[in-house]
């Protein structure tokens, strides 16, 4: 049986998961794919710590060059994460004629353009199934399964930490800090959870998804990103009363030849399937021209879940290499109906708004007068219970408005003497 050698850079959590699968399922995989996948070398800066898999010490090295420069290695798997030196390792591997598997969403989001171009120049492939949704085969589905489709939009719950926090708030009536503490205790949030909570990780994944669906690799600066740290339990509960759940959504949406690319807390109707995705689960909901609306759901993280995706990439590559094929199915072509990116200020949508005002006659007239001045009309309004401080929350849903006008209106409202806290606005998506 043909043998293919792989070199693994990064022997951490996912890396050792990959090694474990390739060892324990060696025969199972060989029988399925007709190729033996052989781990020739493993590189990590730490080659001393024990992992949950026993390997021949001779496989270990702390020098990536021993993998990149080894002519017998066919595929390099990069699992160290971060930009440098991952970028140098991947481009080095491509330059020395190797195919690459990576789970590195941050790197692909930042430097994907040059890395994909380099791969194409060299007739090599970069596979990255584990970069979004871990073991959910979303990359393969968008690229191959839905190859004949054009995409209208993507709505993704792609960060398990944030979704866990929001689910805890909604289901167990916890405040944001309590829910985050819970996430940390359960190992669902890192010590410094800001990349997750502030939406950056979701934005990285969104850039990859939007690239697959629309053929444009937008830069992080062009993605509007708002995290969940400002979402209060009060808003979660008011939203619920109105029939919505609040989710951190990664959205890429084509509207009138403009592409919106944004990550932010979003009210979605409780009747929509995405609103039932709770805990650390991920789900990607896409709308297509032929296959309709589809959803892909599963755990968005986890050692073996991510390793499952890495191994599926390895298997695809073994088949490509065996056939001497640069798989053109992987060609990602630009959606030329997209003329430009839409700035957040120009996006039109409905909003949930909460004002904190003094409980005095005329307040609502003031507030709604300013909204009307900016052409914003109210769909529903509820004045909530009085609090001790005599400041009452006024909760509104407004009809479609442009973000620019909404912001102007809110800043004028917030200057009113009777309004005592910064008003809260959360975008609504009907999907």
């Amino acid at each position: 049986m043909k043998k293919m050698n792989i070199g693994l850079i990064g022997f951490g959590n996912v890396g050792s998961g990959v090694v474990k699968i390739l060892r324990e399922k060696k025969n199972f995989l060989a029988e399925k794919i007709g190729v033996e996948i052989n781990i020739k070398k493993i590189c990590d800066k730490d080659i001393l710590s024990k992992r949950n898999v026993s390997i021949d010490k001779g496989l270990l090295t702390s020098k990536a060059s021993e993998i990149i420069d080894d002519p017998q290695i066919d595929i390099v798997v990069e699992l160290i994460g971060g930009i440098n030196p991952a970028k140098e390792f991947i481009s080095g591997a491509l330059k020395s004629g190797k195919n690459v598997v990576t789970a590195n969403k941050a790197l692909l989001a930042q430097n994907g353009k040059e890395l994909f171009a380099l791969a194409r120049d060299r007739g090599k492939n970069i596979y990255f199934e584990a970069s979004v949704g871990a073991g959910i085969p979303i990359i393969k589905s968008l690229r191959e399964g839905l190859v004949a489709n054009r995409f209208n939009n993507i709505f993704g719950i792609v960060n398990g930490t944030s979704n866990f926090v929001l689910s805890e708030m909604s289901a167990n009536n916890r405040s944001f800090p309590d829910a985050l503490k819970q996430a940390k205790e359960k190992g669902f949030a890192e010590k410094d959870p800001s990349l997750d909570i502030e939406g950056i990780d979701s934005a990285h994944k969104l850039i990859i998804l939007a690239y697959l669906c629309f053929g444009k690799l937008v830069s992080l600066q062009d993605v509007f990103v708002e995290g969940i740290s400002q979402v209060s339990l009060a808003d979660v509960n008011y939203a619920k009363e109105l029939g919505f759940e609040i989710k951190l959504l990664a959205i890429a949406k084509k509207d009138n030849n403009e592409l919106q690319v944004r990550v932010h807390p979003t009210l979605i109707p409780r009747s929509h399937l995405l609103s039932s995705v709770s805990g650390v689960y991920n789900a990607i909901y896409v709308s297509t021209d032929l296959a309709g609306n589809l959803m892909f759901y599963g755990p968005g993280a986890g050692q073996f879940s991510a390793a499952s995706a890495v191994v599926s990439d390895l298997v695809d590559l073994t088949q490509d290499i065996k056939a001497g094929l640069f798989r053109s199915t992987l060609n990602i072509i630009e959606d030329r109906s997209v003329k430009k990116l839409c700035r957040i200020e120009d996006i039109k949508g409905r909003y949930y708004i909460r004002f904190s005002a003094i409980d005095k006659p005329g307040v609502l007239a003031h507030v709604s007068g300013i909204l009307a001045k900016f052409g914003i009309s109210i769909a529903s309004v509820t004045q909530k219970e009085r609090s001790r401080s005599q400041i009452v929350p006024i909760v509104m849903i407004v009809h479609e408005a442009r973000e620019k006008e909404l912001r102007l209106a809110l800043s004028e409202i917030d200057r009113l003497h009777v309004v005592r806290e910064k008003s809260i606005a959360i975008r609504i998506e009907e999907l």
Copy 2:
């Protein structure tokens, strides 16, 4: 650019969808895949009726042999459905060295073993993405995306007609006949809907899914099949009160080295994502050893949805053919931990039961006494409102019991003088 010729057998709804996509997206696809897919011949017994796509009359034929015997045709697409002559066409195509794409679940469920063996002998492939879940890339996901996984179970809502009927009953309080009438009016049910409603279509799809996950092509006779025509609105509503939805599930489940393969109405907890899959949508929920629990959701039928899947198969085949590759990723290997199929009588589970008894003291004691005699214990019981006829429904959930004992108990209970209608039992899955 390399050109590949296809011959299409079956120019009905899905067939004309495929033709339309291949024509309207010719350049889009060619740019993606580096191959021009050319329709060389279209065969249908009716070549006179107008379709919603205009084609050169010279392409049409009513003789399948003009496709099967044409040495210039690389791929045959079979979309006529049914067993004969589809089986002869597919085996003829394989024998004359062509690859095959089909959406024919009934044929694969019945004759898959010999057709797959024939394809393997000839070094050709049969692709069948459209056979389950239309445009949902479930076949590709199970076979390629989850290639490293072993499967524990599959729970599928794979028949849109039945799911529409059950959703209508649940959401709009319609009786079964009313809901079915509604489905027919909307074009979601055929004039004779028995294949859908009685679970046969789901069973065909289940056989294909179980083959992919466990490597065993079970025969229809080995699948326990019960349709939804006996599900009453009363049971839908009582189930709801207890926190469940009733869905027609296609289940393949590994339990103690035995494989259960069954289709029947099932109570599933409303908190489970599958219970929120409503209308004509399909969803396949799988549990794996590495990637955890995953769900794939989308429209389960429709001209362009199914055609989207057919075209994705065509694209995969163009790449395989270009590379001269028989893709071993498609090797389906047997799960040897499965020792035998489990008979329905030996399956253990919880049940929802409804008795119709005369409203008289001592009835419950009688009924529960018989259940106890067979070792079946009651988890909850509710006596519902009296009806005019003085027959009251008694609704129960029982703890785990073996189907054999449950059936014996029910038949004894149904012989009681106080029990006036055949008792209803519906299986519960916790998932």
